[in-house]
């Protein structure tokens, strides 16, 4: 049991830190949240910068510990997050790498790494959110094409995506977890309509996607026909396993900022505020240690991230919301001003106990798959 990094890992950290210090000052300013073409260009540009420097495939090829170091250092240095590249780099990419054919890997993976193509995730539907396997979007086979009809919702980055990892029902008579297939849908195909949805934070982070007789080549199917549920579970284990490392680092930074703001505006004198901040410090320190534990474990087992990610996500999503509640307490009436820092973050944090599997679903996963309790 140790927390020391190997000389090789420390060398990687040092090299990365040096490179970030050199490259970050010349980065263009961040576009506003609603400037989607700007955000796409910015995020792809950052990915291209990583690619040119040899860091593009850190999410796929590096060891889990190297990935942890990468996310820790980039976040500490204030580098851009994966942003619009999120699905391509962290979901679709790893899934295609694990389940795709040689042709599929050659077609789809390099443009993600080079910062040329953006992916979005077509999983959720109006009646298939937490009950994902209830999805109804249908794909009818017609020669060497599928004809897809249905709709998806809460699709992040759909406005600017080139591809969508799309779950469709290819066998309506099979039990609901079977009969699903995983397709790569080109977002410019005829019959695809994107309608942006406004979030409660006022921005258009996600969209509804309508699919009307959209023709998708059978060659775009990853995994066997009707075997999409298993492929999806591979995707989701990545989502819960490694997606939050950088965010824990970010939360610890924000917590320090909140403490300094409290001292500046006098709220620090309230022992209740200090105690809440102290407790949050304990929480985020522990979540960082839990991250290191999980990463170390997945490194020694060599497999995909396990259900331990659900344990992490349950605590993390709740504590992150508490962080912004304390921040609002520190701000006082200013917490009602959308122009103040943390106020938009507070609104955004409301999604954390819902997105990527609600806390209720995560508790079922922990209860059934880790503790072995019977299904309801």
């Amino acid at each position: 049991m140790d927390l020391a990094y190997s000389p090789e890992e420390e060398e990687f950290r040092g090299r990365l830190r040096e490179w970030l210090a050199k490259v970050l000052p010349s980065l263009p300013p961040k576009p506003s949240p609603d400037d989607w073409p700007g955000r796409r260009a910015y995020d792809l540009g950052w990915q291209r910068t990583l690619y040119d420097a040899g860091y593009a495939d850190v999410h796929w090829d590096a060891s889990p510990t190297m990935r942890l170091i990468f996310l820790e250092e980039t976040e500490k240095a204030g580098a851009p997050y994966v942003g619009a590249n999120f699905v391509g780099l962290l979901h679709a990419g790893p899934t295609i790498a694990a389940e795709g054919t040689a042709e599929q890997r050659a077609r789809w993976l390099p443009p993600v790494l080079r910062g040329e193509e953006v992916w979005c995730q077509g999983f959720s539907e109006p009646d298939a959110g937490s009950d994902l396997a209830a999805l109804r979007t249908r794909a009818r086979r017609d020669g060497d094409e599928y004809v897809v009809t249905g709709s998806k919702i809460w699709t992040s980055h759909a406005e600017v995506a080139d591809w969508c990892e799309l779950l469709v029902r290819t066998d309506t008579s099979a039990p609901k977890h079977r009969g699903i297939s995983w397709l790569a849908l080109p977002m410019d195909a005829p019959g695809v309509t994107v309608r942006p949805l406004r979030t409660l934070a006022g921005s258009t982070e996600f969209a509804e996607v309508f699919l009307d007789e959209v023709r998708v080549p059978v060659a775009n199917r990853v995994g066997e026909e009707n075997d999409g549920w298993r492929v999806t579970m591979v995707t989701l284990s990545y989502e819960r396993g490694t997606a939050f490392v950088g965010e824990v680092v970010a939360c610890r930074r924000v917590l320090g900022e909140v403490a300094r703001e409290a001292r500046a505006n006098g709220r620090w004198d309230d022992p209740v505020v200090r105690r809440r901040l102290g407790r949050l410090n304990a929480e985020f320190r522990a979540l960082w240690r839990l991250t290191q534990w999980n990463v170390s474990e997945s490194e020694s087992s060599g497999g995909v991230p396990g259900v331990g990610g659900s344990v992490f996500k349950l605590r993390y999503s709740r504590v992150r919301q508490e962080l912004y509640d304390v921040a609002a307490d520190v701000l006082g009436p200013d917490a009602l001003d959308l122009g103040r820092g943390w106020v938009l973050d507070r609104l955004s944090s409301l999604s954390y106990t819902i997105a990527a599997g609600t806390s209720e679903i995560q508790r079922n996963i922990v209860g059934e798959r880790i503790l072995g309790l019977p299904k309801g």
Binding site: M1, A259, R285, L290, G367, E368, I370, P374
Partner: protein
């Protein structure tokens, strides 16, 4: 970075788990509740197994291991609710004769001027020993397995960051694990409405949160043992206290009416967790230490 148990650490943990299962199973726990008193035989056996001398060097007659290994032992002790001033005796090994071998029982003045097992102890550490016993007032301890005395005011309680606090946190972690195991076992087997109650989400979710608190506390306690950092120890203490106290409460809830009886083990977990939460000094001090660290900017 290999933040995982090594083979040796696993073997050590399994060894002490085996010893405690043999010598302090559920029957022994209940015999202790009914009989009172400290089992000196068991104390010497723990000494012989290296429980108290674990961190002394081999030249001093110890095992030569460190805080991470000690934390694993104390987690196991907390898991079986092993009674006695284990942490104080462990910390006295090397300074108090007989402590290392388990010949002597050593207690210490803890948070709030409380002393555990005063009548059974050979030595009291902190607050000027002999004088402590003289002015001590016996309490009617809430925990049937931890006799308590209160001593007069001018004794220093544990600082929020010393090994006394960390090893207590390890015991709390073990008791949280026990509460989680008890809850899950009950939820799997107890039937209502024709099915195991663990199938109902309201119950299942209580159990899931029990495990989440255990795992978060475990990461914090193990990391603090590795770094020995005062702020890490303070964090570990807060999370382990919460895992044990809140965990026992939720375990009691899962047990329903049975959980409110003397015969269920749950109340023993809860009462011990309460006692240990006081032992580490005031929770406010730990929170303040963690808050101050935010301003130090290390984050």
């Amino acid at each position: 970075m290999r933040f995982q148990l090594t083979e040796d650490q696993r073997a050590l943990r399994d060894g002490v788990r085996g010893l405690l299962a043999r010598r302090f199973g559920r029957e022994a726990l209940w015999a202790a509740v009914d009989g009172g008193g400290l089992d000196r035989g068991l104390w010497r056996e723990l000494g012989a197994a290296g429980f108290f001398a674990l961190r002394l060097t081999e030249a001093e007659g110890g095992v030569g291991l460190g805080l991470p290994e000690a934390v694993l032992l104390f987690e196991e002790a907390g898991r079986v609710l092993l009674p006695g001033p284990l942490v104080a005796t462990h910390l006295a090994a090397g300074t108090v004769p007989g402590a290392a071998t388990g010949e002597a029982v050593v207690t210490a003045v803890g948070g709030g001027g409380l002393v555990e097992w005063l009548d059974e102890a050979d030595v009291v550490v902190g607050g000027g020993s002999g004088a402590v016993a003289a002015g001590a007032v016996a309490l009617r301890s809430v925990d049937p397995l931890t006799p308590l005395h209160r001593v007069s005011a001018d004794v220093s309680s544990a600082r929020p960051d010393d090994p006394f606090v960390l090893l207590t946190a390890a015991e709390q972690l073990g008791t949280a694990v026990r509460a989680c195991e008890l809850a899950v076992q009950h939820a799997r087997t107890r039937e209502q409405f024709g099915r195991p109650i663990g199938a109902f989400q309201a119950v299942k979710h209580l159990c899931a949160e029990l495990l989440v608190r255990v795992e978060v506390a475990r990461a914090a306690v193990y990391a603090a043992a590795v770094t020995g950092d005062p702020v890490d120890i303070a964090a570990a203490r807060l999370l382990a206290d919460e895992a044990a106290v809140r965990g026992a409460r939720d375990c009691l809830q899962v047990h329903g009416g049975m959980g409110f009886t003397w015969e269920a083990d749950v109340h023993l977990c809860l009462k011990r967790a309460w006692v240990r939460a006081e032992r580490g000094g005031s929770i406010t001090e730990s929170e303040e230490l963690l808050a101050e660290e935010l301003l130090a900017g290390a984050g």
